[in-house]
Amino acid sequence: MSDLPLVELTSAACLAAITAYVLFGGADFGGGVWDLLATGPRAKAQRALIADTISPIWEANHVWLILVVVILFTGFPSAYARISVSLHIPLTLMLVGVVLRGSAFTFRSYDRRDDDVQRRWGMVFAVASLVTPVLLGLAAGTVAGGGVTAPGRRSFTEAYVLPWLAPFPLAIGVLTLLLFAFLAAVYLTVEARDVDLAGDFRRRALWSGGALLPVAAVALWLARDAAPWIFTELVEAAWAPVLHLLTASAASIALLALWQRQYRVARTAAATQTALIVSGWGLAQWPWLLPPTLSAYDAAAPTATLALLVGALTIGAVVLFPALGYLFAIFGRAASGEQRTANSEGPTTP
């Protein structure tokens, strides 16, 4: 067991859990954003589709975040402790968002239809869905930008506020929000029952997908000064051109497929694009957990712990993936055999 590259495996598991959280949990937040921005003659239908899509799965999707936290504090305890100290304020605000989003969504689902109370819960759900991803991205951006350092003798503002209240973390926050919204819109085109509704989310997906490009460019430009260790890797590393090529292809295919109303192709491409963006961040930051001071090797827990953790994650995955597959098989329209073409309205059973 000790011959295995345990630090690398644990880091990879952490990155995989982050990716899964972005792909699934992130899209649920994105759904809340589109609830907030629901407009036009079908606003009500848009909200209903979002609610029906995320109701059965959001709690399971949310557990990926807890898994990330658990891997961090078990495998890299000193990194977890430092992140918790430096990012106390944004993480606390993010938690408030997590609590309000989840509970308001549930309260709305189980309350009576069409009254003021329900609309108010809906508003809480939607606003929390908008704010939480920004804070999540902000925290990730602060880590990537080297903002997590010992508080030392600095003033309160210098130690606990300025590291995250900076252009680069903010740009990553906005990027995260856009990415979540884009994913949600793409997924919803597949889930929508009628063509008009799918079209609404197609437009939203095209806009948010298109907006990703300039925001990503700004973030990269800011990284040049704010996160030079990442910027250098993204420009100079041997794998960098391959990664950029793959990401750009996935992004182009996603937008093109959306344009052509090939929603399932778009969904696969958008998910691939997102996974590549997250992996690219992970690769570029490696081996730093908290650049530029704490590497994964320095932060790693003892071998006995890592070996058990990797073992538990492996066994856990064996149990988890079939169960998750079952969940999505039951509730995903795509997987339930319901075919929908551009001309058909409603489900047709095979």
């Binding site: 059965p56 807890i66 078990t74 997590v98 969504f105 549930t106 309160f156 039951i330």
Partner: protein, 449 residues
Amino acid sequence: MTDLLAARSQMAMSLGFHIVFAVIGIGMPLLMVIAERRWQVTRDAHYLELARRWAKGTAILFAVGAVSGTVLSFELGLLWPGFMEFAGPIIGMPFSLEGFAFFMEAIFLGIYLYGWDRISERAHLVAGIMVAASGALSGVFVVIANAWMNAPTGFTLVNGVATGIDPIAALGTPAAFPQTLHMTLAAYAATGFGAAGIHAAMLLRQRANAFHLRGLRVALLMAIPAALLQPISGHHSAGFVAESQPAKFAAMESLFTTQARAPLLIGGWPDPERGEVRYGVELPGALSFLATNDFNATITGLDQVPRDEWPNVRVTHLAFQVMVGLGMFMIVAALLSLVAMLRQDDLGERPLLLKLLVLASPMGFLATEAGWVVTEVGRQPWVIQGVLRTADAVTPMPGLVVPFLGFTLLYIFLAVAVVWLLRRQILGAPDAVDWRRRHAPLVATTRHE
């Protein structure tokens, strides 16, 4: 308010809030599953309606439990980075396992709640069983992590640094068995009496209501064995605490002086400055028996503990009295209910018993809260018994009173919202159309009616 006190208050408040929902998340799925199984066997539609209403309540409460649990997983680091840095590699294992158990619970709860008309009857019941099993399991794993804080194992302390870390040995902390058994039984007793009390209250209004009669019986089916087994588990726990955490045990019973044939103190108001207790009733030798099964055994008092390592004696003692007192009341309620059920009485015609059950309704939850106060306050000043002081684990971040007040307000708001929603939705007239649209198994109802 110092930052340390603010951090402790925030942690206590967050745990105290979450534990209610965690307990319900363990107990309610079992009730749902029993009711659904009863329906499948008897085809008595009341049981199906019970399973559905309980599921609806579970859905609301589980969501709040899930998000407040997330808050806790972050707060461990946000408030106690020193603790997590030390303990993470040692007790990360039960937390990882809990993560997967929680995953399974969330997945199968989604399937249970929204899958009535999408999967077979059998698969639906199995999904419910998975929710109940993984809910209980995730509780067990979290309590193991806490048990380790009371009886740390699986490492060697060298100059304040943990070496020779063995996470398997940490999982095997001797506190794990007594604590997980006690907490799991507490969860079933609390939820069982909680539900029984609600149905009892409804029966007091409509004595012949078949729906509430069945609800009451299923709830009692879970509450009675849990409440009756709890004193055995409590006795075992007490013996373990007396041995491994003498300071906590002495504080629980305000035993200031080490003595043989130590008395069990019922009630009483301890004065730690003078080392006296006023207004208590003493049962000679009973404390020695509780700890060791021997009436004459010598029990360590607080005089053997350095003064700066005393927990808050008043709080620990009072909480222990409250827990035991409530536990006793639930045992009486369980015995009377058991007799009535064995005699096949019509429970609707036993108003006195119904009133007793209404009274017992919140007691399991209050006893659980009191028990956690005993465990946590009784361990102070340590966060890891004998290894790490709470004061050394707290974050250096100043101004912690702000997040404490913020989360307190947030949780008060949520608590009010949940109670209001449950009253409106579960107790009030159900909005039948919406309810059926959302949960009714179309096939099932047509088949039955």
